[in-house]
């Protein structure tokens, strides 16, 4: 096959703006030692969403990724315990003066339900799957998708936008781990089901 010289603007821009030789700063028009190789132009042409792809914000991206990586923590798990499902959601905090929804990552493991916050790595809530009952809370005026967790020590409300998937995963975890059989899920949300 023969090479084709397609005149694609994006490819020309990619070469002219991101590749090609650049001179040392003392010879070229520069601001505070930074050669003006059309940085503003690059930003304008490429657009924010493609800036990373074009490599303009690579340094920024690298450093922020490193920062996040250094803060990366892991949920303390028991030997043999596996995380089966993760989803972003909230926990209702009703104790204390301020009543609010606390955000975090809901994890369903082979043994527990855990609300985890990444920075700083902290378990906000956990309860074993065993003896857990889950109740659907009818839509509140906030139209949150809520569930109520009922366990031997008490009960608490949680909220997830992916509530249906969370319930599926919970049911799957119960089956996969042979936890106590759940009773039927009641669509009306009036009857709790048990894991």
């Amino acid at each position: 096959m023969n090479p084709e010289r397609e005149s694609c603007l994006v490819e020309v821009l990619d070469r002219l703006l991101n590749k090609g030789a650049v001179l040392n700063a003392d010879l070229i028009i520069s601001v505070a030692g930074i050669p003006l190789i059309g940085v503003t132009l690059k930003a304008m042409i490429a657009g924010m969403e493609t800036m990373l792809e074009y490599g303009i914000m690579e340094d920024w991206d690298k450093s922020s990724r490193e920062l996040y990586a250094s803060q990366e923590t892991h949920i303390p798990l028991f030997p043999g315990e596996q995380v089966l499902y993760k989803a972003f959601g909230y926990l209702r905090e009703d104790e204390g003066l301020i009543k609010c929804w606390v955000p975090g990552i809901w994890n369903i493991t082979s043994q527990r339900i855990i609300l985890w916050i990444k920075t700083p790595g902290k378990v906000l809530f956990e309860t074993p799957l065993e003896n857990l009952r889950v109740l659907r809370v009818p839509a509140s005026h906030e139209v949150r998708k809520e569930l109520e967790l009922i366990y031997p020590e008490g009960r608490t409300r949680i909220s997830l936008s992916e509530r249906d998937e969370f319930e599926e995963a919970l049911a799957g975890a119960a089956e996969a781990t042979n936890a106590m059989k759940r009773s039927e899920i009641c669509e009306s949300g009036q009857l709790p089901y048990q894991i």
Binding site: P3, L23, I37, M44, G172
Partner: protein, 260 residues
Amino acid sequence: MVKEARYLYSVARTGHDAMLGSIGIEKNNVYIITYKDIAAIVHACDAKPYKTEDKKLAEGWVLEHSYVIDQATKMFGTVLPFSFDVIIKGNDDAVKDWLCRDYENLAGELIRVRGTAEYSIQIYCDHAYLENLVYSKNQELVDLKNSIEKGSKGKAYLLKRDLDMKLKNLTYSETSRLADRFCSEIKPLVKELKVSGRTSWTPEKYKGKKLLATYCCLVSDEAVKKLGEVLEEINCKEGFFVRFTGPWAPFSFVRLQETG
């Protein structure tokens, strides 16, 4: 008014003064400034960078810059292409001083890229073909798929997630393996090769296909035909598609040492 700076397009191998005409950015007169057997291809400008809020105008400038590089290549052979908006402070003598100071470096690079050009190769693969290939090599995936069909709704949900994750990882390994294999076929035919997992643009024809790899190659003029034959073989394989573009000035291969 005398223009106090020079916009630099490229450096070429020639010892004779020449005019390229009004082909520069905003129809500026492009000419060459020589030192020994090398020359800078420039236009006279004000000592300030080209800046605008107008996207169309900016794109036009970049295309005009590209056109000058192409014309210079036709006239003088392979040139060292410079990035957009590289402006040398001072008049023709300042440019000559720079050519003199950096002569070894520039002349060395011109010799290194002489008789070559940059080519870009993208190899795409059909998604369905790739998935079948991965399934055919991993019985575990087939078993997992079967258990999903038999399992209850909740269990199937978790198994599906597991299958998706495994399929993703195995597909990644398979594409890396294929990319390495094609790379080993291409490498002996080129002077230099750079591998990248991305491309700045995908033509309509290849949309929806999986990009296996992008190779940027510096190729001798006499090796282009052979490279085309090897790529044709890959292109003829079931499930694979090759995009072969060029020639370009060696944008990805110019190495100028810091002289500051």
